[in-house]
């Protein structure tokens, strides 16, 4: 039986009618049309569905929508758009950290969560934290370079 819930997504409250067996990923894409969050393996192995939940990187395919009630959810749409890109988004563009772009929303949100926890992550830490985000076209070198440039930028600003 469907139930009425309210989800806080990208700063807006959405009142929705969902089934208990709907994942957060399904609700984001199918109910709300937020297609930035990608459905990859749908089993928690690829990281494409990553969203921020209270600032932490969560796999929305392994999370019930009902479980996300009262939590602050941020998807790639909430990070920044044309004209006001998040520094991470700009870095991916400038460093060429993507080709087809399918894995990019997940990559950027995982990176966002990581950078909020680690001030200046080493390359080793970056590789470990990003290991759950698979990319099938470019490889990972330019992604790592993009993250390093952002972390260096914030170091300079301090």
């Amino acid at each position: 039986m469907k139930q009425e819930i309210a989800l806080n997504i990208n700063g807006d409250t959405h009142e929705l009618l969902v089934s208990p067996n709907q994942t957060l990923l399904e609700v984001l894409r199918d109910n709300l049309g937020l297609m930035g969050t990608k459905r990859g393996c749908d089993l928690g192995a690829c990281g494409a569905c990553t969203v921020l939940l209270e600032g932490e990187a969560y796999l929305s395919c392994l999370m019930l929508a009902m479980d996300a009630v009262d939590k602050e959810i941020v998807t790639i749409e909430g990070l920044g758009g044309r004209g006001n890109l998040d520094p991470l988004q700009s870095a991916f563009v400038e460093q060429g950290g993507l080709q087809c772009g399918f894995c990019t929303p997940g990559m950027i949100l995982t990176a966002k969560a990581m950078l909020s926890e680690e001030d200046h992550p080493t390359e080793d830490i970056i590789k470990k934290r990003m290991a759950g985000n698979l990319c099938r076209c470019t490889g990972y070198k330019k992604v790592i370079e993009a993250l390093q440039s952002v972390s260096e930028q914030t170091a300079e600003e301090e």
Partner: protein, 323 residues
Amino acid sequence: MRLPKFEYVEPKSIEEACSILSDEPSAKILAGGTDLLANMKHRVEVPSILANIKRISGLDFIRQDNGAIRIGALTPLKRLYKTTLVTEKVPALSSAAASVGSYHHQTMGTLGGNLCQQNRCKYFNQSQWWRSAREPCFKVGGGICHVVNKKEICYSSYCGDMAPILLVMNAKVVLANKGDSREISLQSLFSGDGKTPLDTKKGEILTEIVIPEEALNSFSTYSKFANRESIDFPIVGAAIWSSVQRKEHRVSFTAVDRKPIRARNIESVLKGRDLSEEIVEEVAGLASKEAALVKSSNYAPSYKRRLMEGLLRSTLKKAMRRS
């Protein structure tokens, strides 16, 4: 892949969650969900009720109490390598937590959930469509085992990363049941039956993990071999705990049997002796005799035997260098 239908409840207290479990045998507890929901998508677990215990407060803590370190079952794995108390007193627990799945799994997954994870088998962790080509096995309620023929035993293996290190530290777990609770050794939480890997009573919920004080001042470490180093289940994992003063060395393995095992034979050979190159070589040859390996994963038992030997050798040498 859609999840099957179920009734979703958010119990307000552990007592309420325990009642749900004892009233409805096919109800399941939802914590991090990274193991359970993936299995549900594969239809190998189809609970009638999911009781989300994450809204219950007081199950997410790390504290030292009379010397022992007590960790709430709902503590996210990530917290184990972000909390100074753990990184300083039990660094091996921190590094084991950092070796579980990916960063996301460490954020979502909980210590209690990791210990209580479902056993794995190459004929079980598959989609409904994949499995439909064969007769259903014991683990999904059928009458056959595709790994070992003619025996009424499920040979799925326990592949958790957190159990081995806690086993060598002689950790205990607290199981709550309605108003009551009991403390048992972690070892006795595991039944050794692949079909129902946990030896809990009806309505019981794991609430707390206790690491005794005596385990804290000695060297311990966990290492694993995995297909993709940073994000996979172990092909084989091994933990050791080694006390120079007591001349006691404990060894455990994961992903080699239907439960995580303590290598009692190796431990008795090591007892009362100081570690040396010769002793390490002597016991390395015994490693593979601690488990009866079967082909429940994509890796050959002969390969896993060599990994057990290699892991035992490298972890014992690490302990040797520390002392």
